[in-house]
Amino acid sequence: MITLKVIVVVAVAAAVLSTAFAVASQSFVDFLATAQDAELRKNTIGGHTAGYGLHETSGDVLDPASSSSNTASDEVAIDPDTYLRSFNYGRVSNLTNGSTVREFTLVADDRQTMEISPGVFYNVWTFNGTIPGPTLRATEGDLIRINFINNGTKPHSIHTHGIHKAGMDGVFETINPHGRFVYEFYAEAFGVFPYHCHVTPLEEHISRGLYGVYIVDPKTPRPEADEMVMIMNGFDTDFDTENNFYSVNTIPYYYMHHPIEIEEGKLVRVYLVNMLEFDQINNFHLHGNLYQLYRSGTSMAPDEYTDMVTMSQGERAILEFNYKYPGQYMFHAHKTEFAEKGWMGLFVVKDPTQTGGSDGSDSSSTRLLETKTISGDVGT
């Protein structure tokens, strides 16, 4: 009798145990299966910086630091290559008194979902369909006329930093959906300024992407240079009032895999604006060089000769430098958290005497490849 009882009890227990074991071992079977698959197909991931092991995978690679989506596509919030050196001077006409009128059109929208980091889609609010909005550029004394159209579902406005009348400040005249407004003011005081939406909740209107750069050139132009715009920004995609992504010109790591080409010895001028929401500060550090820093760009005399500038939101500066030696040089936030969430990039300094620029870029990219191969020995 006891034998029978034991058998039944053990049988029940065994049945239950084996079921549970089957559940437990399922993951082990899966594990073995993937381990075998891995032999069949190879994708390789390595670090953007040496030190990380190289790994071959049968699956997909998640690496925003060395690849990106097709930024020319309408799905992506900006094409950082195009944006970098694009300056919008407006439709030019003259007043009877001879002064120049520059007319711009800015359309606000808040309905699109666009890619702001490889594979990450977010409901962005844009001026003219991009983040940042177009860079507006004028000369001191020009009359600026901005035709503003609100194509979104919420009230928006344009608040431009600089000198203008109270009614042109974009704060008390919020423009409702389908509304229009014409902002008109003189470009007083040369310098570099941000423009952005000033409707509350301000934090949301700015962090979603309603901002851009406005440059006023002095009447006596600055020396000829390779000019570019960099707007330091970020995105809080999970709404915890902390940014998930940081960058210059929206797409994290973009200039790491699409380095900015510059010429050895040639003056480079960067119009740098910090529009980063949520974080107290942001900064710009340049490798292998120092730059002349013109805070707010409102003076022709530099304030500092440095490789580090720290800014709070809305602060901006003009950075001027030229490289003595060819090769690849990083620039990034010297707040490493921001850097490691996407705010880093590369300048490729090319020697203009070398035809095709083969020396500068190619040798350095070969060097980068070598580094990656070396790091491969660490892993696998």
């Binding site: 009798m1 006891i2 034998t3 029978l4 009882k5 034991v6 039944v8 009890v9 053990v10 029940v12 227990a13 239950v16 145990l17 079921t19 549970a20 074991f21 559940v23 437990a24 071992s25 399922q26 993951s27 082990f28 899966d30 594990f31 993937t34 698959d37 994708n43 991931i45 390595g46 670090g47 030190g51 990380y52 092991g53 790994h55 995978t57 049968s58 699956g59 997909d60 998640l62 690496d63 925003p64 630091a65 060395s66 980091s117 490889p118 594979g119 990450v120 889609f121 977010y122 995105f235 995609t237 999970d238 998930n244 992504f245 994290p252 490691e340 969430k341 996407g342 660490v378 892993g379």
Partner: protein, 467 residues
């Protein structure tokens, strides 16, 4: 046949009476399928044209990181699962909220409930805390922290032996040591014996509650909401209780029948002899007060037969059930130990091992308690086997917990164990209550039973403080 035909005629319509029998049963099936057909049509409507009326709210993605492994050579592996209501695409991976290059296998596209493996090359440091995160295509980040990184256990001989050693120390040795309380138990008076039997029940109730709480913690921490972990625990525990209850009741009924038959025949099964309720043990002549009044073997055997029906389950079976229940509990304990070593959640200090040893020794006592009035001579082997049934699962648990940890499997084992334990406790008290009723008393008025139960739980609580 004839009767059936008439019956059918009276219940069904005249036309159907001409139709063959299979038609009637087919009709029966069709009638049963009607509600299902309506339901199917409704579902088709909701997924089809009805979608626009009913599609309210935004379904949010959810990814659970179930397990994190730190591999030698600078690599972190996160096992993730889509536990949300919609398919997700993984966009990025990070360590300590810093975006890093990673691989995801088999694919970054995760349909519902599908698992993937995220491989992040990262030079991690042993003992440091880490937080591993993945970001879905809508920018939502999901993360899981690890208190102290420890190298992943690779299923090799060396690691298996290490876990085996731990399992032996905390599982087998203490339980076997606890079995040595048997001679002591046998020499107790009835009242004291009842105290210890009740103490066993107390120990078991503690273990059962412990298993439920432990399972609940795992469910809360590692099992995604979609699996309804906490409900699963309760359901499995109840089911385990009912199945074992059914099995033991059936066995009890059958053994009663067989005993009646067996008394008339001279030959009895060996196990049965061994199993007799108040059989005299030559080795322990002064075992129980009740037995002392009896002189003759014959007389005694008659009494046994009379009392047999009072016992719900025979002592050996009871002891076996206890050992299986404890075995399942220890399996869960082993899972926890193995997983903790791998997850770096506990450092297996000597102190901790000693704590488990003391705690688990009491489990041996629980197994031998029902055997106090049983002839032991030819049962030594069986008792040892029961000790092993209770102890060995610890080792198996550490292996599975260390090598292929699955939180869902862990909570299932723990709740089966809890159900088994409560069932045994139920049997113990059922047995005691019957005895008590026979003598005209009530178990709740027996101080030694209440005191034993309280002492049992207290012992477990105090020894549990060492873990």
């Amino acid at each position: 046949m004839e009767k059936d035909e008439i019956h059918r005629r009276s219940t069904s319509s005249p036309s159907s009476s001409l139709q063959p029998r299979w038609f009637a049963s087919a009709k029966m099936v069709a009638i049963a399928l009607v509600p299902l057909a309506v339901l199917a049509a409704m579902i088709a409507f909701i997924f089809g044209p009805g979608q626009q009326f009913l599609g309210t709210g935004t379904p949010l993605p959810e990814i659970s990181i179930e397990r994190i492994e730190f591999q030698e050579g600078g690599r972190i592996i996160a096992y993730i699962r889509n536990t949300g209501p919609i398919d997700v695409t993984v966009a990025q991976a990070d360590v300590n909220d810093r975006i890093l290059p990673a691989a995801i296998e088999p694919s970054k596209e995760l349909p519902r409930l599908v698992e993937a493996k995220v491989i992040i090359p990262f030079p991690w440091n042993e003992g440091d805390p880490y937080e591993i995160g993945v970001t879905s295509s809508d920018g939502t980040r999901f993360s899981k922290g690890v208190n102290a990184a420890a190298p992943a256990a690779t299923p090799d001989i060396e690691q298996a032996a290490f876990f085996g050693l731990i399992g032996t120390y905390v599982g087998i040795i203490p339980v076997l040591a606890g079995l040595l309380w048997l001679p002591f138990i046998k020499r107790l008076s009835l009242q004291k014996y009842r105290f210890f039997l009740s103490l066993t029940a107390g120990l078991l109730v503690f273990l059962g509650i412990d298993a439920l709480v432990e399972g609940s913690e795992i469910a809360a921490e590692s099992v995604a909401g979609v699996f309804n972990g906490q409900i699963l625990i309760v359901l499995v525990a109840i089911l385990s209780f009912l199945v074992l209850m059914y099995a033991s009741t059936k066995l009890g009924e059958r053994s009663k029948g067989r005993t009646a038959a067996a008394t008339t025949t001279a030959e009895q099964e060996e196990e049965e002899k061994v199993d007799k309720l108040s059989a005299y043990d030559d080795d322990s002549i002064h075992a129980s007060q009740a037995k002392k009044t009896l002189d003759q073997q014959q007389q005694q055997q008659q009494q046994q037969q009379q009392h047999r029906h009072l016992v719900v389950v025979k002592p050996v079976a009871m002891a076996l059930m206890i050992s299986i229940g404890i075995g399942l509990h220890n399996f869960g304990e082993g899972l926890a130990i193995g997983a903790s070593v791998v997850l770096g959640e506990i450092a297996l200090s000597t102190f901790l091992i000693v704590g488990f040893m003391i705690h688990n020794t009491t489990e041996g006592l629980a197994i031998v308690s029902p055997l106090a009035k049983t002839k032991v001579r030819r049962m030594i082997g069986k008792i040892i086997i029961m000790g092993l049934i209770a102890g060995i699962p610890t080792i198996i648990g550490t292996w599975i917990g260390g090598f292929v940890y699955s939180p869902v499997a862990a909570i299932i084992f723990l709740s089966i164990g809890a159900g088994a334990i409560f069932q045994v406790v139920f049997l113990i008290y059922q047995g005691m209550a019957k005895e008590e009723t026979e003598r005209g008393g009530k178990i709740m008025s027996d101080a030694s039973i209440i005191a034993g139960f309280a002492a049992g739980m207290l012992i477990m609580y105090v020894t549990g403080l060492m873990i």
